[in-house]
């Protein structure tokens, strides 16, 4: 147990090991350092053996993390020792303790050079290694020619030449002129003809550094690399010592393929063919085997081959194989392969147009976002970020938000930033954007920079339709007991500007809003107080007629801050106080903020400007550019009367949501196939508490080899790429899509292989604006496009013209203005037809301009509800019915169904916990705004039946509303009915025109 007979060193190491704590260790180390220092002081008495021993001790102490600020000279001086053992220690310890800028190193240049040009090849090796590890510019200038000579010399043995190659690499990095000599590239090519695999391995590293710097000088080396790869792949002339678990040097294979990735392309057809043959063999021939090491080694080669194919395969000969392999990898249980699968998929986004195929794996990738391993979660996050676009933004961002709540601290900032960027870039509608950012502030306020909330304010200010919504949301968040200061800021700002739009709602009177905000004031910092003071002034301005009590409260706040030490707050307090006494003038001065000029998002700009050198980030940058260039051409069809689509102030992406991916089967299959995977990680099977036992036990080589079986079954399902080209069948269930759109305002109405019709609607009282997005999905134009709306009698619909031809990959917007005249459940129908080539397609689609779109939910208090409820006594104003055949759902589900129908559930009004009370305001030209009240009494014993009571001041409305709710409670609209052809030509103006209602009536 001795260090080449250095007993003193062994004793010291044992001593340190036996120290019971860090303090004891420090004392022992200090004692030793003192000892070495004294011994070095009278160097004359020191034998080479002692010197060697002390220098090793220094290295050991340094490794333990203690500063060793002396003795460097002694280490360096050993380099000039005549005998090998001393010299070796000198070289090794010097290269560990010193760096290239160290003065002592210069002293050694001569000794090092003497060893390099000397005849002793072991000395040469030592010297070359030192220079290779820590040599600086001075070494480069004085030694480069000597090193080159050794590398190229035919009389020199491989053991010297392989070190010379890497030494030259170091010198090249210090001074790139060392290889700027005529004929160097020829010599490099010659080096690649080397038969010795040690020399070839080092030379390949040198070559990678050279081509990464400038590939143009090395075209002649390209075929040589392919030759090397062929030699390894075919296992020709590979000594046994260089095969690793039967695989010819995986490291050299990997390095060679890495070198090839620095060439933009392979032009020569013969070379290209040879290379693709090798790659094909690797891609096809890599099987999963039992032996962990063999498996890892072959997959190392496989992943490198994948990277090379992605880089070179501009003709997409092998790309589908790569995608299939990666799709398989991201679903396996073996964590290393999954990690690398995700990483390489992200890389793939950068190099080639496979976005659509990768999107099929979205569900699988999201699963990895919840993996217990943070490394895998990070890869998954990067991939999701890279693959996000308008069609999947909603899903992805919602996943990120959900994950944010549980994410580790280390990832939150990144998550928050990414979610904010995606929400802004790909928001299908603005209210969603507001939701996302507010949730983000709520869940991770610390990581939401001011930029982000400023941006929300800009959007809200510039979009009038958004203002009441945003104000309501802000009001909701203020109800939470503890909210982040950023939330206070944004809520206060929004409510100051727009809370008057909520005035009719309960809990939203100026006074209540003021109290709610003022509660937060004691907990916030100075800049936020300034915002609050402004908010108070605005609230005061909007409370008309003035409320003297509120006025006094706010004035009291202002006078309190009149003498505030912060100049900003003081000034605001004084000015607002004075202004608020001026009556009318206050109105003008504190009017709503003007719209913001359109500007680029600072967030996205930041993300784009970040000069990141990581492949991942540049992938994202590249994708952003691609998206900009591939974006659908939006032909803005403005109707003649000028009531065209309101230009979206901030150039948001306005394309509605998701194409439903109908092909989930592959993912599921993948999961099923990989259930029995073992793990490859090498671990001590019995965690042993016995330190000594561990120390003495062998490092368990055998164990690592006998790991469990790893059977990833090749999966063909992934190879199906195009399968939709037969007849023109709609994608997805039309009835289901319609039903979904009754509950939300944007989404896909219809899709087939050629066309996608999206909808985005905004409703305000009895009016609505509905924009149809007609998108041509193909590379050929759509002809004879016609879109006609057949409105029922209770709706006035103004349609703008649709162009006859939709160009390839273009999208046409077609806005409809809708006015509701009276309550009715009849449905407007869109008659849509087009020709693609010779195929004529005609569809009639129900438009989701249904009764509940003209509701504005309203929360009523008990004081408001009961008088109304009693006043509307009996039929026809109040109708009651027992409904059977109700879809079984929990009370919570029912409540959320009601809320999504815009019937606001008012909890606590009905004393019976099994009952539900909801209210809303219905708007039409004939009824104006009219309060509707609904009460549902459920039977806990039988959830398929309930009693429903509906009341409003208009008999038709009461009846229609009752029938409407019934349609949604009874299990008809989607499931039972086998997707009815959307209506006859003209919907009958009777109450029974809707098949759903008909059936519901029968029940």
């Amino acid at each position: 147990m001795s260090l080449s007979g250095m007993r003193g060193l062994s004793v010291f190491i044992s001593d340190v090991r036996n120290c019971r704590n860090k303090e004891q260790e420090r004392l022992r180390v200090d004692k030793e350092l003192g000892n070495i220092r004294t011994r070095f002081k009278n160097e004359k008495g020191l034998s080479p053996y002692e010197k060697k021993k002390y220098v090793w001790k220094m290295l050991y102490i340094y490794m333990l993390g203690y500063d060793v600020d002396f003795g460097h000279m002694e280490a360096v001086s050993l380099i000039s020792a005549p005998k090998y053992p001393e010299k070796q220690v000198g070289y090794i310890v010097t290269s560990c303790l010193l760096n290239e800028n160290h003065d002592f190193l210069r002293l050694a240049i001569n000794a090092v050079r003497n060893d390099i040009i000397g005849r002793n090849e072991t000395f040469q090796c030592l010297a070359l290694t030192l220079v290779g590890n820590i040599g600086g510019r001075e070494f480069a200038e004085s030694l480069a020619p000597d090193v080159q000579k050794l590398l190229l010399s035919s009389s020199c043995r491989p053991l010297v030449r392989k070190k010379a190659a890497l030494c030259l690499l170091r010198l090249f990095r210090k001074n790139s002129d060392v290889v700027n000599v005529d004929g160097w590239s020829d010599r490099m090519a010659q080096l690649l003809d080397e038969r010795d695999l040690g020399v070839l391995t080092s030379s390949m590293s040198l070559f990678v550094a050279l081509v990464s710097n400038n590939h143009t000088a090395y075209w002649s080396c390209l075929p040589k690399c392919v030759k090397i790869l062929e030699r390894l792949a075919r296992n020709q002339d590979i000594p046994q010592e260089y095969t690793y678990y039967g695989i010819p040097s995986p490291w050299l294979q990997v390095k060679t393929m890495r070198a090839l990735q620095y060439f933009p392309t392979v032009e020569d057809p013969t070379t290209r063919r040879a290379l693709f043959e090798v790659l094909q063999r690797i891609l096809m021939g890599t099987d999963v085997v039992k032996n962990v090491n063999k498996n890892n080694a072959s997959h190392a080669v496989l992943f490198e081959a994948l990277a090379l194919v992605m880089h070179l395969d501009s003709e997409k000969e092998m790309m589908s194989q790569c995608v299939a392999l990666l799709g398989k990898f991201i679903a396996v249980r073996e964590p290393n392969i999954r990690y690398l699968g995700l990483e390489n998929m992200t890389r793939m986004l950068m190099v080639t147009d496979v976005h659509e195929i990768i999107k099929r794996h979205q569900a699988q990738i999201i699963t990895s976002l919840k993996d217990p391993d943070i490394s895998i979660r990070r890869r998954s996050l990067d991939l999701l970020y890279g693959m996000c676009d308008v069609t999947n933004a909603k899903d992805i961002v919602e996943e990120l938000l959900q994950y944010l709540a549980t994410a580790d601290f280390a990832m939150r900032e990144e998550l928050a930033l990414k979610a904010a960027i995606l929400a802004e870039k790909f928001a299908p509608d603005l209210s969603w954007y507001v939701d996302v950012i507010l949730q983000l502030i709520d869940k991770a306020g610390d990581f939401v920079s001011d930029d982000i909330w400023f941006r929300v304010v800009q959007f809200v200010t510039n979009n009038e339709d958004l203002q009441p919504y945003a104000a309501l949301k802000a009001r909701e968040y203020l109800d939470k007991p503890a909210i982040h200061e950023t939330m206070v800021k944004v809520s206060a700002y929004l409510l100051g500007e727009y809370s008057h739009l909520l005035a009719r709602r309960p809990g939203c009177s100026p006074k209540e809003i003021f109290n709610l905000i003022h509660e937060k004031l004691p907990t916030v910092s100075t800049p936020t107080i300034s915002i609050l003071l402004t908010t108070y002034a605005k609230i005061l301005m909007h409370s008309q007629p003035p409320d003297p009590e509120l006025q006094n409260q706010i004035w009291a706040v202002y006078s309190k801050y009149e003498s505030c030490i912060d100049a900003e707050i003081q000034q605001r307090a004084v000015e607002y106080f004075a202004l608020s006494r001026k009556g009318e003038a206050l109105m003008d001065i504190l009017a709503e903020m003007p719209k913001f000029p359109e500007r680029q998002s600072s967030l996205i700009k930041k993300a784009e400007d970040t000069d990141a050198d990581t492949a991942e980030l540049s992938a994202i940058k590249l994708r952003t550019q691609q998206q900009a260039s591939n974006a659908l051409v939006v032909t803005d069809q403005r109707p003649a009367n000028g009531a065209g689509p309101q230009p979206s102030q901030l150039a948001m992406v306005m394309i509605p949501t998701t194409t439903t991916d109908t092909d989930h089967s592959s993912v599921e299959q993948d999961q099923a196939l990989t259930q029995s995977n073992g793990t490859l990680t090498v671990v001590d099977p019995q965690p042993s508490g016995d330190i000594l036992g561990d120390l003495l036990s062998p490092l368990d080589l055998e164990d690592s080899q006998s790991q469990s079986e790893h059977n990833v079954v090749p999966n063909d399902a992934l190879a199906l790429v195009e399968d939709q080209e037969s007849s023109v069948k709609p994608i997805g269930d039309i009835a289901e899509r319609f039903h979904a759109l009754c509950l939300k305002d944007s989404g896909v109405l219809y899709e087939d292989p050629y066309v996608q019709i999206g909808i985005k609607a905004e409703w305000r009282n009895h009016q609505g604006r509905l924009v149809l997005f007609l998108g041509n999905k193909n590379t050929g134009p759509l002809d004879s496009v016609q879109a006609m709306v057949l409105p029922p009698s209770h709706l006035k619909v103004e349609v703008s013209l649709v162009p006859e031809i939709i160009p390839p990959r273009a999208q046409v917007q077609c806005p409809l203005e809708i006015v509701n005249i009276r309550p009715s459940r009849d449905v407007a129908v869109l008659d849509f037809s087009y020709k693609f080539g010779t195929v004529l397609v005609n569809n009639r689609l129900r438009l989701p301009a249904v009764l509940n779109k003209f509701f504005t939910p309203i929360q009523v208090s008990a004081e408001e509800f009961f008088p109304q409820w009693r006043a509307l006594a009996g039929p026809p104003l109040k109708l009651q019915e027992v409904v059977r055949g109700v879809k079984p759902m929990s009370l919570g589900e029912m409540a959320s169904l009601f809320n999504s129908l815009r019937l606001m559930v008012c909890p606590g009004l009905d004393p019976n916990a099994y009952n539900l009370v909801a209210s809303t305001t219905f708007y039409s030209e004939s009824t104006r705004g009219m309060l509707c009240l609904v009460r549902i009494e459920t039977d806990p014993a039988d959830r398929t039946q309930l009693r429903m009571t509906v009341a409003s001041a208009d008999p038709t409305l009461t009846f229609e509303l009752k029938e409407f709710i019934k349609e949604h409670l009874v299990n008809i609209p989607t499931a039972v009915k086998p997707s009815p052809p959307p209506q006859q030509t003209q919907p009958l103006p009777s109450a029974t025109s809707d098949p759903g209602a008909l059936l519901a009536g029968l029940l």
Partner: protein
């Protein structure tokens, strides 16, 4: 540049060997080793062998009580490094015969010699065990 450092750390977190291929001050090393060791030792066998830390990717492998941690940059193939660790362990095994933590502790210089034959300037020099061990055997014979 490839490999930035190689660490051997036991499961108590004590460094048994450290070799850096880029210069870091002692404080930087201490901080880096502390962070990495904390991160890697906390992981379990169901997790992958790669950990991202600052600009590094740590490829690590555990053998009984000893962790081998290799810090690489974006230019490296992770699985190739993972197997390179195994090659290193096999090489030590061939020399020491059933290598254990104590062998590495008390023959620090030999461990360094082997590493020096295998990696230079952050690149792999040699993967043939016979060639790696040849100089050490020569030395053993001489003494």
């Amino acid at each position: 540049m490839g490999i930035r450092f190689i660490l051997m750390v036991n499961k108590q977190g004590q460094t048994r060997l450290a070799q850096y291929y880029e210069y870091l001050t002692l404080e930087e090393r201490r901080a880096l080793e502390g962070e990495i060791v904390r991160k890697c030792l906390a992981r379990n066998e169901q997790q992958c062998s790669f950990v991202e830390h600052r600009n590094y990717k740590i490829v690590y492998r555990r053998y009984a009580s000893l962790f081998f941690l290799v810090g690489v940059d974006n230019e490296e193939n992770e699985l190739a490094i993972l197997e390179f660790i195994h090659l290193l362990v096999e090489t030590m095994d061939r020399h020491f015969g059933n290598v254990c933590e104590l062998d590495i502790m008390f023959h620090l210089e030999k461990a360094h010699f082997m590493l020096e034959e295998m990696v230079m300037n952050g690149c792999i020099v040699e993967t043939s065990k016979a060639n790696i061990l040849a100089p050490i055997q020569l030395m053993d014979k001489a003494s």
